[in-house]
């Protein structure tokens, strides 16, 4: 979900996505860099993200972006997370 949310503002390459997720979480989340790429490839295989290659400074760079299916999945997972985190909050901090 973090990766999908990180791609929501716009396309990004792997390193940029890691930085973006870290910045959006106020530097609380530092994604394990090695785990990001297999996860992105799995999301691509599932049709939730798509990628394209671009040339940057003479080398190839892979850039990812959300698909429509990925946006739908993000919406679903975000709703689930909101429901779950509210429940935890209610349990930990009862009114």
């Amino acid at each position: 979900m973090l990766l999908l949310a990180g791609l929501e503002p716009g396309e990004a390459h792997g390193y940029g996505l890691i930085e973006r997720v870290s910045a959006r979480s106020g530097d609380v989340f530092a994604l394990t860099e090695g785990s990001v790429y297999p996860a992105l490839h799995r999301l691509e295989a599932a049709g939730d993200v798509k990628s394209r290659w671009e040339q940057v400074g003479g080398r190839r760079r892979r850039v990812y972006q959300l698909t429509r299916s990925g946006r739908a999945r993000l919406g679903h997972e975000r709703a689930e997370w909101t429901r779950f985190s509210r429940a935890i909050d209610l349990a930990v901090n009862p009114a």
């Binding site: 792997g14 090695g34 790429y37 295989a45 080398r59």
Partner: protein, 280 residues
């Protein structure tokens, strides 16, 4: 950048089984490392410190390569399963839907080409033996491909065997009743259904479709082999004949379900197990 080159070389070695997928993965990781080093140098580290830190953050190449390899193998297995399932599932419609349609229209007599099932094995023709080999090999190679997340040659063999099976059944049926247009329409419809199921309609259908198709594949093969082994049982050509054959067909359909369930479970388990072992 010698350490980076060594890291990438190690990654390359670990992914040598997947030459086509290796290049983009290495390009992507190399780009990541270069950007990471640039950022770390901009933050004040010297070149060698930045390189070491970038490599440390990316981690050990062995478990990372194992994770990529597991995903690639699983995706290949799913792709091959879908492809072969679609091909073989289509033969289900080819063989059985015309029979059912014929039964609904009244009794019919199979053409002379189907008489081989009444012959003794030593009198089978060369073409019939080829048909038998195709029918026998297809499910075996296919199951091997699923069970072992097999390499490309077994997977190619699986696809080839599946195609042979389809070709053999098509060739058999095109020379006999019913008319070709019924067979072709049926085949096209069932293939479309199978491909739709093997596509990406939803997560649950994606998961179920290859399993269901696998069951159908095994059922077709088991049924065909059982008929051939019985050597004397012809395809039932009237309603009472079909009803009498139902218990036997039920057994033939149920046993592959158990087999496929076990194989699917063990396949997923073995991929996960390999990754865990590598991480340890």
């Amino acid at each position: 950048m010698r350490e980076t080159e060594q890291w990438l070389a190690e990654m390359r070695d670990h992914l040598q089984r997947f030459p086509r997928r290796r290049r983009p993965i290495l390009d992507e990781l190399a780009d990541h490392l270069l950007v990471s080093v640039e950022e770390l140098r901009a933050a004040g580290l010297d070149a060698s410190e930045a390189e070491r830190e970038a490599l440390r953050r990316l981690g050990d190449p062995r478990p990372l390569a194992a994770e990529f390899a597991g995903d690639i193998a699983r995706n290949r297995s799913i792709t091959v399963t879908r492809l072969v399932s679609a091909v073989l599932l289509s033969t289900f419609g080819l063989v059985w839907i015309p029979v059912i349609l014929a039964l609904l229209r009244g009794p019919f007599t199979p053409g002379p080409e189907l008489d081989y099932v009444r012959l003794a094995p030593d009198s089978l023709s060369h073409n019939t033996w080829l048909w038998l080999v195709a029918v026998g090999l297809a499910p075996l190679v296919y199951l091997a491909a699923i069970a072992f997340s097999a390499g490309r040659w077994i997977q190619l063999g699986s696809v080839a065997a599946g195609t042979c099976y389809l070709g053999a059944v098509t060739a058999t049926w095109l020379r006999v009743w019913p008319p070709a247009w019924i067979q072709i329409t049926t085949w096209a419809l069932v293939t479309l259904v199978a491909l739709a199921g093997a596509g990406r309609p939803s997560r649950s259908v994606r998961t179920l479709s290859p399993r269901l198709a696998s069951v159908a594949v095994c059922a077709i093969a088991a049924d065909a082999l059982a008929q051939l082994l019985a050597s004397g049982i012809a395809i039932p050509h009237n309603l009472p004949g079909v009803l009498m054959a139902l218990p036997n067909l039920a057994v033939l359909f149920l046993s592959p379900i158990c087999l496929i369930a076990l194989i699917s479970y063990s396949d997923a388990h073995s991929v996960t197990g390999r990754l865990s072992a590598t991480r340890r």
